[in-house]
Amino acid sequence: MQELIQAVQNSQTFLSGLSEAALAIIFFVLFGLVFATVAAVCALVFVYLERKISAHMQDRLGPMEVNTGIPLLKNIGHGWAQTLADAFKLLLKEDIVPNAADRRLHLIAPFILFCAVIAAFSVMPFGEKLVVSDMNIGVFFVLAITSFSVIGVILAGWASNNKWSLLGGMRSAAQIVSYEIPSGLVVLVIVMQVGSLRFNDIVMAQAGGILHWHIFQFFPLNLIAFIISFLATLAEANRAPFDLPEAESELTAGFATEYSGFKWAIFYLSEYANMFLIGIFLSALFLGGWTSPFGSLFGGFFDKPGWQPVWIILKAVAIIFLQMWLRWTLPRLRVDQLMYTSWKVLTPFAFVTIFGVGLWMLF
C-alpha cells in the first residue's frame, strides 16, 4: 500500500499531485470495489459449479437450457448463463419487507455479513506482491473480522420478526461462536511452526514444492489440524452438513426467510464469497499458498511470479469442490450432534495437535 502510493506520487500522471491521504482513500475505495466485484463474479461461477456438480453427483444434468442464444451454438454451453439469468431475476424482483419487521435492521443485516467477509479479503495473499495489506497480524485479523458475520446473521433473524428467522439466527450464533474455538486454535499450530502471523511469511515457509507444504509436515499432526480447520470453517460458513441455521425442512430458509430480491442475493453472495475466502485461507495456511507444487522441477518455470495467483486460486477451487462434495454427500447434523462435534471432538483434538507440535518442536 505505502509502496503503491509512493509509486503513484512519483509517476508523472495527473494523480501525482494528490496528497497521500487522498490517494490512500482513493485506493481503499478502489480495492473495496474490486473485491466486491470479484466476489460477485466468483459467486456466479461457484453457484453454477455447485448446481452442475450436485446434478452430476445425483445422476442429473443440471441447468442446460440458458446459453448464448446465438442460433447455431444455441444448445452448446451446458447452461453456463443460468446463474447470470438468475442474478438478473433477483435484481429485478420486488424487495419485500414484512410489516412487523424492524426496517432499518432488516436493511443493514445482509450488508454487515457481506462487509465482514469482504474485509477479510484485504489480507489474503494472492501472490507475493498481490496483497492489499500484508499486515503483521494477518491471520489474526481474519479471525477477528470474520467474527462480525455472526452479528449480521442474528440481526437478520431478529429484524425479520419471524419465528423461523429468529430460530435460524440463534442456531447460527451458537454454531459460529462454538466453531470459532477449534478453528482459531488450529491456526496456532501453523503459527507456532512459522513464528509469524503474517500471511506471506507463512506461505514462504512452505516454498519448495509439495513436500514442503504444512499439511505434510509433522505428520500426522498437521493433517489432523487441516481436517479440524476445514470442518470448523465449513461450519462457520453455515454450509452443509452444518447448515442448520437455514435447514429448509424445519426452518423454511432460517434467517433468510423474510428476505427477497437484492438483499437475499447479498446473503447468497456472502456465502459463496465466504467459501472462496476459506479456500484461500486454508490453502495459504496448509497447502503452500501461492507457491507451486513442483518446486524446482521443470527448471523452476512454475515458480515464476506470474503463476502465483493461478496456484492459490486453483488450490482454493479444489477446497471449494471438497466443500460441495461434502454438501451433496452427507446428511445434515442434529443440533446436539453439532455441539458434540465442536466441543467434544474438534476442540480436544485441536489441543492435542497444539501440544504435540509443541513437544515435537521442543525435542
Binding site: A24, I137, F140, Y340
Partner: protein
C-alpha cells in the same frame, strides 16, 4: 492522514456511545456499542497496537456483544420497556463510578499539564505488537496474567456447574 483518522474515529466512538446510552431499543444500543468498540479498535491500530486491536475485536465485538444480542433477543426485550427503575443502591454506585471516572480524567489532564505523564503519539507506540505483548505477559506481568487465567478457569468451571445443575439422563449422543 493519521490525525484525520484519529478525529473521525474519536468522533464516531463518542457519538455512538452517546447513542447507545440514549437509545431506548436495547438491540440498537448493542449495535451502537459495537460501533464504539470498532472505532476504539481503530484507535489502537493508530497507536501501532494492531494485535491489541484484533484481540479487542474478537473478544468484545465477536463474542461478548453476540452474547448480549443473544440474551436480549431470547428475552425479547422490546422498545416499549420505558421506565427502567433504578434502585437506590445502583444510583449510588452509578454516581460513585461517575466521580471516579471524572477524577481520573482530571488527574490525567493535570499530570499532562505538569508534564508528568508520558503520552504516546500517533503511530509511535511500540507495545502493542505480538512479541512485545507476549514478552511482557510472561516476564513483568506474569503473576497478574496467571491470576487472570485461574480466574477464567474458575468462571468456566462455574458456568458448566450452573448449566449442568439439573442433571438429566443424557440423550444418546451421536
Amino acid at each position: 492522514m493519521q490525525e484525520i483518522l484519529f478525529f473521525v474515529l474519536a468522533a464516531v466512538a463518542v457519538l455512538s456511545a452517546l447513542g447507545m446510552l440514549l437509545n431506548k431499543n436495547p438491540v440498537y444500543s448493542v449495535l451502537l456499542l459495537i460501533v464504539t468498540l470498532f472505532s476504539i479498535a481503530g484507535l489502537y491500530v493508530l497507536l501501532n497496537a494492531s494485535f491489541i486491536a484484533a484481540v479487542h475485536l474478537i473478544v468484545y465485538a465477536g463474542a461478548i456483544m453476540v452474547l448480549f444480542l443473544f440474551v436480549i433477543m431470547l428475552l425479547d426485550i422490546r422498545a416499549d420497556v420505558e421506565h427502567i427503575n433504578l434502585k437506590r443502591l445502583s444510583r449510588i454506585l452509578a454516581l460513585l463510578a461517575t466521580f471516579i471516572f471524572l477524577g481520573e480524567t482530571f488527574l490525567i489532564i493535570w499530570m499532562s499539564l505538569k508534564g508528568k505523564a508520558a503520552f504516546v503519539g500517533l503511530g509511535e507506540g511500540i507495545l502493542g505488537d505480538v512479541p512485545s505483548v507476549g514478552e511482557l505477559l510472561f516476564t513483568k506481568y506474569l503473576l497478574p496474567f496467571e491470576i487472570a487465567s485461574v480466574l477464567l478457569l474458575v468462571a468456566i468451571v462455574g458456568a458448566i456447574i450452573l448449566a449442568k445443575r439439573k442433571l438429566r439422563p443424557e440423550p444418546p449422543a451421536a
